[in-house]
């Protein structure tokens, strides 16, 4: 148990360090003078140039530059965006709220819908499963950005049910959430249903039935918990997918958020912002994985007792 936690912590540190290194490498792999890369397409005064050289230690050997960069990131300094004329941390802080809202709502919807669907369709009549798996097949095949375009075209432009652009509040959240949640829901449903079907074949399920438990009772009280481990694992992986999906969805619905920020930064070659977002997502990964490890222990007593 303790060993498991230590391994997780060590891996977390390693992942964060790796992400910093990837950023640093990206900075130096980009063709051109590092100062020019950092300022992107902006024009700055010689004083600012000198400041950048001092900040990044660019007149020092590469290894010292690396150490300087690492030290700054450790202190929480993600650098300055010369296009936005503000610090990267401020830029990210201003945009993170709407993104968290969209991501959280999408994951929640996906989890609730897929759990319900999986419980209702696992080991049912062939046509129910057939219909469900056909829909899932389509769900995983549609590109998220096109789902967003379709929803926008149909429900905003044609039917006018939802606002087309940038609306705040619940009404503005509905279509983006559907677009982001659709692929996650289908993947989760698929995995949970397959997991449930395997579990429902297990002898302990028969035992529960012989005690007089109803079919639904067995699914909810016994079987569901057995598919939680793979489900939690998959959700952890899907968090990354969600972050990616939000880039296009935010752009299509003209929503504020990290995705828009990133996209603008990529287009304008604003490398400090892109590097900042990369580090942010590495932190997200670490946090999500620690939560997942704790959930494993909560779900399965066998993992608790294994030292």
């Amino acid at each position: 148990m303790i060993r498991r936690i230590l391994t997780r912590l060590a891996t977390s540190v390693l992942v964060l360090w790796g992400a910093v290194t990837v950023s640093f490498t990206a900075l130096h792999l980009t063709p051109g003078n590092v100062v020019d890369v950092l300022i992107g397409s902006n024009i700055v005064t010689p004083e600012v140039r000198a400041q950048i050289i001092r900040d990044y230690g660019l007149d020092e050997p590469l290894l010292t530059q690396y150490a300087t960069y690492l030290g700054r990131v450790l202190r929480g300094d993600l650098g300055q965006s010369y296009q936005l004329h503000e610090s990267v941390a401020t830029a990210i802080g201003a945009q993170i709220g709407p993104s968290l809202q969209l991501a959280g709502a999408s994951l929640l919807v996906a989890i609730v819908v897929s759990t319900t669907l999986a419980i209702l369709t696992a080991r049912r009549k062939p046509w129910i499963r057939g219909l469900s798996s056909s829909l899932e097949l389509i769900g995983v095949s549609i590109p998220t950005f096109w789902t967003a375009i379709l929803l926008l075209t149909v429900f905003s432009f044609q039917l006018g049910w939802f606002p087309a652009v940038g609306a705040e509040g619940l009404a503005g959240l509905v279509l983006p959430v559907i677009a982001v949640a659709l692929p996650i829901t289908t993947m989760l449903t698929q995995m949970m249903r397959e997991g449930l079907e395997l579990t429902l074949e297990q002898p302990f399920v028969l035992t529960a039935r012989t005690r007089g438990m109803s079919d639904l009772g067995v699914r909810l009280r016994h079987a569901l918990r057995h598919v939680l481990i793979p489900t939690v694992t998959l959700i952890g992986w899907l968090v990354g997918l969600t972050v990616g999906a939000m880039v296009a969805v935010e752009q299509i619905f003209s929503r504020q958020g990290i995705g828009q920020l990133t996209l603008a930064a990529v287009g304008g070659k604003d490398l400090p912002v892109v590097m900042g977002v990369v580090l942010l997502t590495a932190v997200l990964y670490v946090v999500v994985n620690i939560v997942i490890d704790l959930l494993y222990l909560l779900i399965d007593p066998r993992l608790r007792s294994a030292s």
Binding site: F204, R209, T210, S305
Partner: protein, 524 residues
């Protein structure tokens, strides 16, 4: 006599692909044990599940009469069946490790039956769970109730499973292979527990593949084959004077002690002071033995006794911490990987689960071809040799292009034997080679092994938990417990007049047919 707890006449159960049960009739009275015996696919478990309405949506069930405690159950709705399950009829499956929910404490599993039927007021449930655990002989019931199945021993788990089945005091208890996954001493304890229930007036329906297991307990025995009851009578009738050829075949399939005299060959394997530890656990602790050409050394022991580790040490798949193995007087342990590989063809192996020992992409022909290649058979004659080998193990060339997945269990084990014979080994290590097979197939495979030994003079190191099987094939026996040899010697000596207390305990626990039954069998 009182009314039957359950009564079924002319039961038919069919699934879309097969009619699993055809015309079965049975009745179980209070304090009586009825056993249904049959091999896999005989329809015995389907029959039992019909009494709970749990045959599944695909099944069509018809019966002349289906009554539980006198109530006609033939047209029960799902809701009515649910009120029967657990309350009127209890059900115990084999292997509590998978038959209890691994993610819940066993106390909760037992309480579930009580809660579902509101058998006792809610606040009394914890007390009742403890009482039930005590009743089935679980020591320290308070602590055990909070533990998870994986934290309990096999015997305690099985008792907890029984406790959950009898929680609401059902008149009928169905036990479907209740001891199959258990060690023989634990099996004896569970059978004793079931016998106590019977004495207390419980009606018992016992489902098993093993006539010897039911012999002690059953008042009536039904023998099923392909969905039909081929024989139905009192236990002494069925075991002592069987009428149907299938029953006779089943009885004949129970391995008998061999009476052959050991032939004296040269020593092919000498193991000397083998020790192997895994972490803190000593799996094999100072094990020594000799195996001579043309002879069989049986290694018996319960799970965790170190039998399989011993086999792997002998096969050179593990290196011992101390001690050594010689083959044909040549050192075998501690050789370089290269040198060891050259000698490997002299010592082959047959596993319990032959399927996993075959590359899933390989056909029987390729499996044998590879083994013959190792044995130095020239490419030109390999196909001919492969067919010869198949004939030797009782198969023909029609299986050559098949994959093992498409073969029956018995056929797979025959292919595994053919593969082991291909490089013309001096020794074959047989690791539980028949324990996954049906009784009648088991007997055939054992006879094949014995016959091949007589023909080819190959030596067997025969690992098994089944004393009857070991006694049937072995010249010498090694009894292992916790990695140590507790007794060794000539098979007849050790297995009929053991000197070690543990061996005596093991033998006492083996379910066996009465002497008169054995005599009757011998006469037939």
């Amino acid at each position: 006599m009182s009314a039957p707890v359950v009564e079924v006449t002319d039961l038919h159960v069919s699934f879309p692909a097969v009619e699993a049960v055809r015309g079965v009739s049975l009745a179980v009275y209070p304090g009586e044990c009825v056993a249904i015996v049959g091999e896999s696919g005989s329809g015995k478990s389907v029959t039992a599940r019909t009494l709970l309405g749990l045959t599944g949506e695909e099944a069509t069930v018809t019966a002349g009469r289906l009554a539980i405690e006198g109530v006609d159950a033939a047209s029960f709705s799902e809701r009515q069946w649910r009120s029967i399950r657990g309350r009127r009829v209890g059900y115990v499956l084999q292997d509590a490790l998978v038959s209890l929910d691994s993610l819940r404490p066993v106390g909760k599993e037992i309480a579930e039956t009580l809660k579902l039927h509101r058998a006792v007021p809610r606040h009394e449930i914890p007390r009742k769970v403890i009482d039930l655990l005590t009743e089935v002989g679980v020591p320290e019931p308070e602590a055990r109730a909070r533990q998870y199945p994986h934290e309990l021993s096999g015997g305690l788990r099985q008792r907890a499973l029984i406790a959950s089945a009898i929680a609401c005091g059902p008149k009928l208890l169905i036990a479907d292979e209740p001891t199959t996954a258990l060690d023989v001493t634990v099996q004896a304890q569970i059978l004793r527990l079931l016998a106590e229930r019977k004495r207390a007036g419980q009606a018992l329906l016992l489902i098993s593949h093993d006539l010897a297991v039911v012999a002690k307990l059953a008042d009536r025995i039904l023998v099923m084959k392909d969905g039909v009851v081929v024989e139905d009578g009192t236990a002494s009738q069925v075991l002592g004077a069987p009428e149907h050829p299938y029953t006779k075949a089943l009885l004949a399939a129970i391995p008998e002690p061999s009476t052959r005299a050991p032939r004296a060959g040269e020593v092919v394997i000498r193991a000397d002071g083998l020790v192997k530890t895994f972490g803190k656990r000593t799996a094999v602790d100072d094990v020594s033995f000799e195996l001579r050409a043309g002879q069989t050394l049986g290694v018996v022991g319960e799970s965790g006794s170190g039998k399989t580790t011993t086999a792997r040490l002998v096969l050179g798949l593990l290196q011992p911490d101390r001690g050594s193995v010689e083959i044909d007087g040549l050192p075998w342990t501690g050789l370089s990987r290269e040198r060891q590989r050259e000698l490997r063809r002299h010592i082959q192996v047959i596993y319990q689960d032959p399927l996993s020992s075959f590359d899933p992409r390989f056909s029987v022909r390729r499996i044998l071809d590879e083994a013959l290649e190792v044995g130095g058979e020239p490419r030109k004659t390999r196909l001919k040799r492969a067919v010869e080998l198949l004939e030797q193990v009782g198969l023909d060339d029609s299986v050559l292009e098949r994959r093992p997945l498409k073969l029956s269990g018995g056929q797979r084990q025959r292919v595994a034997i053919a593969r082991a014979l291909a490089p013309r080994p001096r020794v074959i290590v047989c690791d539980e080679p028949v324990s996954a097979l049906d009784v009648s197939i088991q007997a055939q495979v054992l006879d094949l092994l014995v016959g091949l030994q007589a023909e080819l003079g190959v030596a067997y190191l025969f690992i098994s938990h089944h004393l009857g099987v070991v006694h049937h094939v072995s010249d010498h026996v090694l009894v292992l417990k916790d990695g140590q040899v507790v007794e060794s010697g000539a098979a007849n000596q050790v297995l009929t007049a053991p000197s070690a207390a543990y061996t005596q305990e093991l033998l006492a626990a083996v379910p066996r047919l009465d002497t008169n039954v054995s005599l009757a069998r011998r006469a037939s």
